[in-house]
Chain length 221, copies 2
DNA sequence: GCAATAGTGTCTTTGAGACAGTATTGA
DNA sequence: TCAATACTGTCTCAAAGACACTATTGC
């Protein structure tokens, strides 16, 4: 049955730089909006994709060479006005990745990413501005009660690095003492037998406790 | 472009009875699964629906005669295994309605609803069991930090009725004193110049403060 | 020793839970 | 006056914020 509806997945791949959250955009290689920066996306391939999550994984890997440590369905955008080709549905996902992992992948896969601050976007094709707004809001909101920001960090990290990450995502400062008390109580990190040495006192390294699911807290961080 | 993908909306319309949350199911009037109880749902009509929210409203009104006071996108279910007709996408919504409003509508619109407890469902067609589980989980979770349960009540209600509603949705008892303190602090109700008279001391009536958006709290109820 | 960062201890404030109290109605 | 429900006051406890303190490193 042909309902004449276009069905795609789009992925907002988000990372963290010194100056805030960034989203990965790629130059479109096809019409419409050929050559313009837009979210990685593509049609669902009913023959190869088990479901839309599989389609999102495939799109992300095909277009960026990455396998994200965190990928979650965001929202489904739809309507007759969002795509010049006609009535369309985009099942949008968002993904998180560490900046250094992303950059080394850019070299390895020989693709050209464009990074934009999520709060300073140009006008993008389709409703991609809205999708990115949704993704940033979801990330910021969910970070108040989950371990999500861990996925913006490398495999191991110090508590100070984790706190700075939460602060950049949330947009406000946290108290060091209270932060460490909560991290300790919530018990979602495991110590690694290493330290990060720098100019001064070395800091203990941690990794997120291995799990299939995102750690959700029963209170705020 | 025909991708051979079926695209539908399904609505989990939820109400509250004495013994807990109930979901409205209707007997399917078409194949597949003709005659079996299932969620109200239907194809997107690209010619008439502005977007999937409009489609969900239309489906709900066409099949039940209702306009729900609360309707929100839930999740998008997809894949090749959920529908015998082939690879399909269901943009699922959930809606809330008061039991008495629902029942009077059943008579007015001359439709036959079947109500099932969300925790005691038979095996349903497609992945409707999963959709209802998602809806009940979302409702219970969101009720801990929002005014959602108000939409399960009639237009006006007493504080005791509201507390009982929260308790039934959440599945645990709340302290009366603390509950009223919070309702007062959160300031999302407005008093109505009426009381509910019964056998004993009359109770003040309230309604939810008029707003376009759901009231979200910065803490737990 | 000094500067800088890592990490801890403790006081105060706030809000939640427990629970007992008072208030108002119909019969 | 009594039963039943509406509504309030107060004590205790736990978690959060503020902030000062100690610890460990390179130089």
């Amino acid at each position: 049955m042909d309902q004449g509806v276009i069905i795609t997945v789009d992925v907002a791949l988000i990372t963290l730089q010194d100056d805030g959250l960034q989203v990965v955009l790629l130059r479109r290689d096809k019409e419409p909006y050929k050559g313009q920066p837009a979210l990685p996306g593509g049609y669902i391939h009913a023959e190869v994709d088990n479901d839309s999550l599989a389609a999102a994984k495939r799109v992300l890997t095909d277009k960026t060479g990455l396998v994200s440590p965190y990928l979650e369905q965001l929202y489904t955008f739809s309507g007759g006005a969002r795509d010049p080709r006609g009535w369309s549905v985009s099942i949008a996902y968002y993904a998180l990745v560490n900046k250094d992992v992303l950059m080394s992948q850019e070299n390895a896969a020989d693709v050209a990413f464009t990074l934009y601050r999520v709060d300073e976007l140009p006008l993008l094709p389709f409703d991609h501005n809205r999708i990115i707004d949704f993704a940033a809001d979801r990330l910021r909101n969910k970070s108040t009660y989950s371990a999500l920001p861990c996925y913006l960090l490398p495999e191991t990290f110090t508590l100070t690095e984790l706190q700075k990450t939460y602060e950049k995502v949330l947009g406000y400062k946290l108290d060091k003492s209270a932060f460490r008390r909560k991290i300790n109580d919530l018990d979602f990190l495991q110590p690694v037998d290493e330290v990060r040495t720098g100019v001064h006192r070395p800091a203990k390294l941690y990794r997120i406790r291995p799990t299939k699911n995102l750690f959700l807290f029963d209170r705020t961080i």
